[in-house]
């Protein structure tokens, strides 16, 4: 894949390094000359410096033949312009922004950006959810946060231990998507009886997640 990264700082460097290791072709537009020079010394990538939202610079960076553009500057208005120039003028199929203001996630979707990710809201969500339940090991939002996937462990004495799945009534729009027992993945069926130390993959809407997890683990947030 041909990927164009626009921005600066460690994020751009580490992302580029990661992509190069996965055999993608990388081009970078950095704002400052010194940073561009440093990046080109450290990476096997085409590195330019200048205004990444300037169509001429994007043309030079090969936007016309690029599969994805990532806008990673510190300014949302610059990120939007970068993506719009790439998507609308050069026909780049995928444009991705790391937005600073979480509210811009939705705004950018409406203005044609393929994917707008807010580190702020991901962190806020992770923290809130994790502080709530000690038993949660992994948690990530999907479908823009409309669904949450959590991995929870059943501790001794948890209400769901020794219960068959068919005997557990979970709230609507929540389900157990998988069970990990002794390192093996079990597909959940009605007769499956849960045991201590089982790890459950629970998929739920945010509104009912707390209730579902409490029902299974007995823990309160």
């Amino acid at each position: 894949m041909r990927i164009l990264l626009v921005g600066g700082g460690p994020v751009v460097y580490y992302l580029a390094r990661e992509f190069i290791a996965r055999h993608h072709q990388i081009a970078i537009i950095a704002e400052a000359v010194a940073e561009a020079q440093a990046l080109s010394r450290r990476l096997r990538a085409l590195v330019l410096h200048g205004d990444g939202s300037d169509p001429r610079i994007q043309e030079e960076a090969g936007s016309r033949r690029t599969d994805a553009v990532l806008a990673l500057t510190a300014h949302d208005h610059d990120n939007l312009a970068i993506c719009q120039v790439a998507g609308e003028i050069f026909g780049v199929p995928r444009t991705v922004v790391l937005v600073n203001d979480p509210e811009n996630e939705e705004v950018f979707h409406r203005l044609g950006v393929t994917m707008a990710i807010s580190a702020t809201s991901i962190l806020a969500r992770l923290l809130e959810e994790r502080i709530g339940f000690e038993a949660i090991d992994e948690l990530f939002p999907v479908a823009e946060g409309k669904l949450l996937i959590a991995e929870v462990v059943l501790r001794p004495g948890a209400p769901a231990v020794e219960s068959a799945l068919s005997a557990i009534t979970l709230p609507k729009v929540s389900l157990i998507g998988g069970i990990i027992r002794d390192g093996e993945v079990l597909v959940p069926h009605g007769p499956t009886v849960l045991r201590e130390k089982d790890r459950l993959i629970v998929i739920a809407e945010p509104e009912v997640q707390e209730e579902a997890l409490q029902l299974l683990t007995g823990e309160r947030p």
């Binding site: 300037d54 939007l80 312009a81 003028i89 705004v107």
Partner: protein
Amino acid sequence: MSRGAAEVSRLIAIVGCGRVGAFVAGELSRTGIGVLVIDRRESAFDLLPPEFSGFKLHGNAIEMAVLRSARLQEADCLLAVTRDDNTNLMVTQVARAIFAVPRVLSRVSDPKKEPVFRHFGIEVISTTKVTADCLLAALSRSGGSRP
């Protein structure tokens, strides 16, 4: 009030209270049009003429929260006249797509950015081009060579 009620009821939002924004805001306000000026630097409002009777809103116009508190959906027109082209590009698009402002106009400083605005159907005033054209026209009128 000689300009009529239709004019009085209009509301024009101006983003950016630099020399251009403050001047335009002053002129519009003088003719009785409702004006709302937004700038992220509070000191920018010092540039407004003392008789300015419109609203001032201190905040960054690329934040939805700021535009909501500006009640942008009630504006008839938005002028984006900050010095930053990308800010103007974002604000005009958000005003049009999300707040349904009927008319948006943007100042553009970098002529290279003009095609981008045009691509999105945003009316632009290229300050660099306008100034350059005026200078060139003045030069051609006076000849520009020694007698």
